[in-house]
Point group: C2
Chain length 467, copies 2
């Protein structure tokens, strides 16, 4: 028999599942629900607690309950248990073949790595950049090269402080996007032939960088919702001479996994005991759907062993190529490598971002961006529920714009990718996300790039192609 509070919870769950209540929406207040349904306050509270326990809503102090995720009529993908060996990486050719067509404007870009550029305040950025450049002291064009504009670095450090990271401005190096930050961080602590621990599945940008730097990968098991599994990491550290870890604790690409705070703290402590640096790729953290930005692992770093890498490419200014690394005790090495490589970052790009930060519009823009991405995720999950066959498993991340889909075992994702492309839909097949090309029946779907009607149609077509 269903109790009253279970019935209420079920009603609300259905409203969320149908998209009537969107991620980020406030639930009706307890008082209103009592009045509307003739229930006791205790019953309403019970229902809300139940929804909270299921991960669908969260309480925000003095504000009420808010929708955080959609119900999961689909199971989540199974945990990945990688091979135990370390191996060289050779992923470039498949990456090139798969990612090339993403740029074709005729193609619905579910295989893209970027959110739709239309979601960003491009006009305002351009105007701010123009204003900043016109009043620029010409000498700054040279002074703002490595390690970057001093005020921009200070703003980055300040945002870090607000997230519990005591980053000195001296350890911040501005880079050409996060990719350069991550590459410099990796080069600061490795030599060709060294072993680097990565997640399984891992972002192909990570795999490409390991390939370029001739490093070997050893993969760590993950959970699709909570990311790096610490017992697997401990095992890898025991078995392999790991020189660095490259992880994404917040909204991992492709899983969207979010490591719990305890796990982050333990991971940082474990790595510190082994003296292994952590390269933290944190480019998606600002795209959370909940109440608060998740903390970076660097918030628990007391020994400067975490190199925190991020950028504005996914949060504010795509194509401007402004990223950074807070390099902890490795800042001198990173600075040195930066000086010996690209010399410095486009000054107009740096000033465009700085102008936006200084004029206070960043947080407002982020709120709009998060709401847009959450709505797209919800819509995509509904479409997958409707159109994909039984046995399909899918994540429902609490931030970002990727879904990781585990299709029935018999499906060949590379063949599916080809078939989808013939119908003008790009997807990222799972093989891109592992050094040994596992995840053969998985897809990463970008739900933040296609236009909404394109997203629905593309997922319907994809579902049919799966079978």
């Amino acid at each position: 028999m269903t109790t009253k509070y279970e019935a209420l919870a079920k009603d609300i769950e259905a409203l969320i599942a149908s998209g009537t209540l969107a991620i980020g929406d406030r639930l009706p207040s307890v008082r209103d629900t009592v009045a509307a349904r003739g229930l006791s306050p205790a019953t309403v509270f019970e229902a809300y607690y139940l929804l909270e326990a299921r991960g669908l809503v969260e309480a925000r102090p003095r504000a009420g309950y808010f929708v955080k995720a959609v119900p999961a009529p689909r199971e989540e993908p199974r945990s990945a248990t990688p091979h135990q060996g370390s191996r060289p990486v050779a992923i470039h050719d498949v990456a090139q073949a798969v990612l090339g067509p993403v740029r074709n404007r005729q193609v619905a870009p579910l295989g893209s790595a970027f959110p739709a550029p239309e979601l960003f305040p491009l006009d305002r950025l351009a105007r701010g950049m123009g204003a900043a450049m016109r009043r620029l002291d010409p000498r700054q064009l040279l002074e703002d090269l490595t390690p970057g504009n001093a005020e921009l670095r200070r703003q980055i450090a300040l945002r870090g402080v607000a997230q519990g990271v005591s980053t000195g401005v001296d350890e911040v190096v501005v880079t050409s996007g996060a990719m350069e930050a991550l590459t410099l961080a990796l080069q600061a602590v490795t030599q060709p032939g060294d072993v680097v621990a990565i997640e399984s599945p891992a972002f192909y940008g990570c795999l490409l960088t390991l390939e370029r730097l001739q490093l070997k990968a050893v993969e760590v098991a993950t959970h699709p919702r909570t990311g790096v599994q610490l017992d697997s990491l401990a095992e890898v550290l025991r078995r392999h001479p790991v020189k660095a870890c490259w992880f994404m604790p917040n909204f991992q690409n492709p899983l969207g996994a979010l490591m719990p705070e305890d796990a982050k703290r333990e991971m940082v402590a474990l790595l510190a005991r082994h003296g292994v640096p952590l390269i933290e790729d944190d480019v998606y953290a600002e795209l959370y759907f909940g109440a608060q930005r998740p903390l970076p692992a660097k918030a628990w770093d007391r020994e400067g062993g975490v190199m925190h890498c991020s950028s504005f490419s996914k949060s504010l200014a795509p194509g401007y190529r402004v990223g950074w690394v807070s390099a902890g005790r490795f800042a001198p090495q990173v600075n040195r490598l930066k000086f010996m490589s690209t010399l410095g970052v486009s000054v107009p790009s740096q000033l465009a971002v700085l102008h936006f930060l200084q004029h206070g519009a960043f947080d407002k823009h982020l709120r709009q961006l998060r709401a847009a991405l959450a709505a797209r995720q919800q819509r995509a999950l509904l479409a997958i529920e409707k159109h994909f066959p039984d046995g399909t498993r899918v994540t429902r991340p609490e931030g970002g714009y990727f879904l990781w889909v585990e299709l029935p075992d018999a499906v060949d994702a590379m063949a599916l990718q080809q078939a989808a492309l013939a119908r003008h839909i790009s997807v990222a097949p799972g093989s891109l996300f592992s050094a040994d090309k596992r995840f053969r029946h998985h897809l990463r779907l970008n739900v933040g790039h296609p236009r909404l009607e394109q997203l629905d149609a593309a997922l319907k077509t994809l579902g049919r192609l799966v079978g």
Copy 2:
């Protein structure tokens, strides 16, 4: 006994030496000189031929004779004969120590690598960038990442064609300045531990890149006016397993040397016979003082073995970080590396440069820039003549903004650098320009950065410090 034409030539030489006739100025026409001095046209022609033979003036068809260089009361520096071995490079720490203080605004930046930013059309660039960004289709922000904006690449290829280089647009990769272009080119054809042939002296950026990539340097002898000596290059190719050459045939940094066309052609042929790729650093070619842009070595490349690297940082847009490589037959490898490293170049920066090229203001700006740099060189040479001790030797390059000064043997340039810095003058000591830190009594002086009055005063002080 001095003949009439010799006397006339001597008068004109004095006018050039004093700065009355500036580099780029037209000599009085033969007709005017005949009328003014009561000489025969043949005598005037003889005088002009003599000045031409001395390298001071050049004839331009249907336009007359123009001042090309100042007379050299100082001898030119001696040719450099490097050690014959190959060796690892470790130059970073001295480079960092020397180059750091260049940014201090109190310091006269004769040690800088950049011309004065005030010499560039910064307002117009900023306005063009603003206009281009405001009418941008947002999708371009992602499409213009690697290999770069298609129209910008076409404009770059077209400028190449005008210089005798048949560059297909497909081999042009836009990079974060020339430094990234050169690094990618070098990585495309080498592995750590390989031997690379460089000039002696060589640009410290080249040495730093070799250091970062763990490559060994073997140095090739140069002439201070004509650059790479082919017999030395041939010897190096015989003795060492050279995997690539990194040379600057046009206005080499630090010498300012300009390889004659015949030498460039022979060099390209010699390297083709050995199957050794040439990485051509051509960032200064647009800054010529004569009638025509000197051709790049790539103009003689028939086998795609020359990777031509350049940028707009020294010619149009300092701090924008827009460079490129025309990578010949190595374009696929370079594209691959670019894709695996910084992903792409700031789109606002690319569009700023493109807008300027499309609206036709680049060549006009370059004419003004060249005239300004030539005037500064002339002024600096006069000051050195006046203030530096006997035994000082100095180049008088036909382009660019560096002078290479060979001081009397007893002078220690590193000590001089320290003493100069105490007087708020930076210089680049010769030790920065060699893997084995030779050139201990040499300086590279940037005459294109300091303000003019600062330049005079700084050279006077420097001359006193030398002794």
